[in-house]
Amino acid sequence: MLRLLRRPFFWIIALVIAVFVLSPWIGNDVELRESLLLAALYITLASNLNLMLGYAGYINFGSIVFFGLGGYICVWLVNSYQWPLIPSLLVAAVCVSALALFFGLGILRLRGAFFALSTIGIVEAVQAFAENFTPWGGSSGIYLSSSIFLPLGGPARALWVIYFLMVAVMGLSLYLSYFIKTSKFGLGLLAIGQNEDAAAILGVPTPFYKALVYSASAFLPAIAGGLYFFKSAFIQPSDAFDLSLSTEALVVAMLGGQGTVTGVALGAYLYEELRGYLLTSQTFSNFQLVIAGALLLLIVLFFPGGLMGFIYSRFPRTQKVLE
């Protein structure tokens, strides 16, 4: 661990976190905070997706299920059992990770397109469960009363607390990505991503590693989901398990450069900015998914390495610093 403190990249991540914390805080800029909150959410989702996609080479179309399920468990604990926010978030994340480990050991026997399809199946199954599970309010979902913000010092202050927590989750996601990438576990995952059969013959315990990374990629998105839906004070199945957010996370990871930590974060930030612009502009309102689709096509066809692939090829020396 101490070894990591000497690496420049460790401090680059710390700097990004500092910018996220300070820039809206200094001017008390609420609008900037909301935009950065979404950027932090996208970075969290895309970074964790990247553990599967960029490292282990498995396309997870259903990464949103971690987010949605985390949101549900957290909101439910807060609403029905009056749990405080932080324990609810942690319990939600542990439950979702455990479920992912369980499902992972099963569906990760599949490869390629079959695995990708099964991840969509999981989203559909969990959504159907949420729609029919009475304690979760069925298809009408769960509403939180506005009094839930009182323990955090009222709504205005609560929004700041939620924002800082989301930035913390983003920071942890980046460190997790970085830590795994520079570890033996990461080396094994990269080998699986390149050639799973060869990796197994070299001794990489493939079933266990795949299930472990699937489970690890569930933890922080579940917390992000808890924060997001706690903030909205409302959760319903169609929002929680919206497949388009899964697709956007994939676009973001590909845009930035799958397998890289920097690229995925950069891609998420740029995509969120673009999305914000498209959503607020008169002409392009609700056009962002079309743009996302077109972007994905262009990247796959012309820039398979994404932004980082481009930067690395232009400035090879950056490879020594950035991950």
């Binding site: 033996k184 094994g188 080998a191 050639n195 060869a198 013959i201």
Partner: protein, 250 residues
């Protein structure tokens, strides 16, 4: 010499094809055992059975006192058994050194990253790839990829190294170099089981030879003995020119 690998009455069937039938042989500690036979004789299937890619229908596979029958490939690797592939399987987007680090990290010793890097460097050097250590595996020539297979298997610090046609597709100079590498590996005390079609090479490398035909053992013995065995000449060599070549070298 004691047996390091003991294959006991192993059989494997694929649908209507009995790929390996009731096959028994042993690889003794420290030797180079050559495995020859015509195409489709079951040589590569045997490798896949030994290292857990396929599970045998019958028989047992013992290795250094442990029963490997039915074990997964990554468990087999932990026991100290490494192999190369006839059709090279590089981890394409990783460097030569990283490829070898995977072998070192997850092989017999289960090394941490730092130690694995040192062992990998050494393996890269033995295979003669020092100047390619930082090259992505996909940029290597076919000869380079063959050497990478060897370096990666070596980095696992195995007790037994299984080489599946490491000489195929190489030009004469490269073949000579590779034979030198194999000899150096044996000098380090690693036992070798080698499949090869290049007769002269395998006859001069091997201490003993096992001949397979239709999934069964046809003959076993010293290279010169095997080459004179009338059954081998008839069933496998057939071609008198090839027989002459063998006698020339044996």
């Amino acid at each position: 010499m004691t047996a390091l690998l003991d294959v006991q009455k192993v059989g494997k069937r694929f649908g209507g094809l009995q790929a390996v039938r009731d096959l028994s042989f042993e690889v003794r500690e420290g030797e180079i055992l050559g495995l020859i036979g015509p195409n489709g004789a079951g040589k590569s299937t045997l490798f896949n059975l030994v290292n857990g890619v396929f599970i045998p229908d019958s028989g047992r596979i013992l290795f250094a006192g442990a029963d490997l029958t039915g074990k997964r490939p990554y468990e087999v690797a932990r026991h100290g058994l490494a192999r190369t592939h006839q059709i090279v399987q590089p981890l394409t987007n990783m460097t030569v050194l990283e490829n070898c680090m995977v072998g070192a990290c997850f092989g017999r010793e289960n090394l941490p990253l730092g130690r694995a890097r040192e062992v990998a460097r050494e393996a890269v050097a033995v295979a003669g790839l020092e100047d390619r250590a930082a090259t992505l595996a996909l940029h290597l020539t076919i000869a380079g990829k063959k050497r990478l297979e060897l370096a990666r298997a070596l980095a696992a610090q195995p007790k037994l190294l299984m080489l599946d046609e490491v000489l195929a597709g190489l030009n004469p100079t490269e073949v000579e170099h590779m034979i030198g590498v194999v000899r150096r590996i044996r000098e380090r005390g690693i036992t070798i089981l080698i499949i090869e079609h290049l007769m002269q090479a395998i006859m001069s490398l091997s201490d003993r030879i096992v001949v397979l035909n239709f999934g069964q053992k046809l003959a076993e013995g010293a290279p010169a003995e095997v080459a004179r065995d009338p059954q081998v000449i008839e069933a496998y060599l057939g071609d008198p020119k090839l027989a002459a070549e063998l006698h020339g070298s044996g």
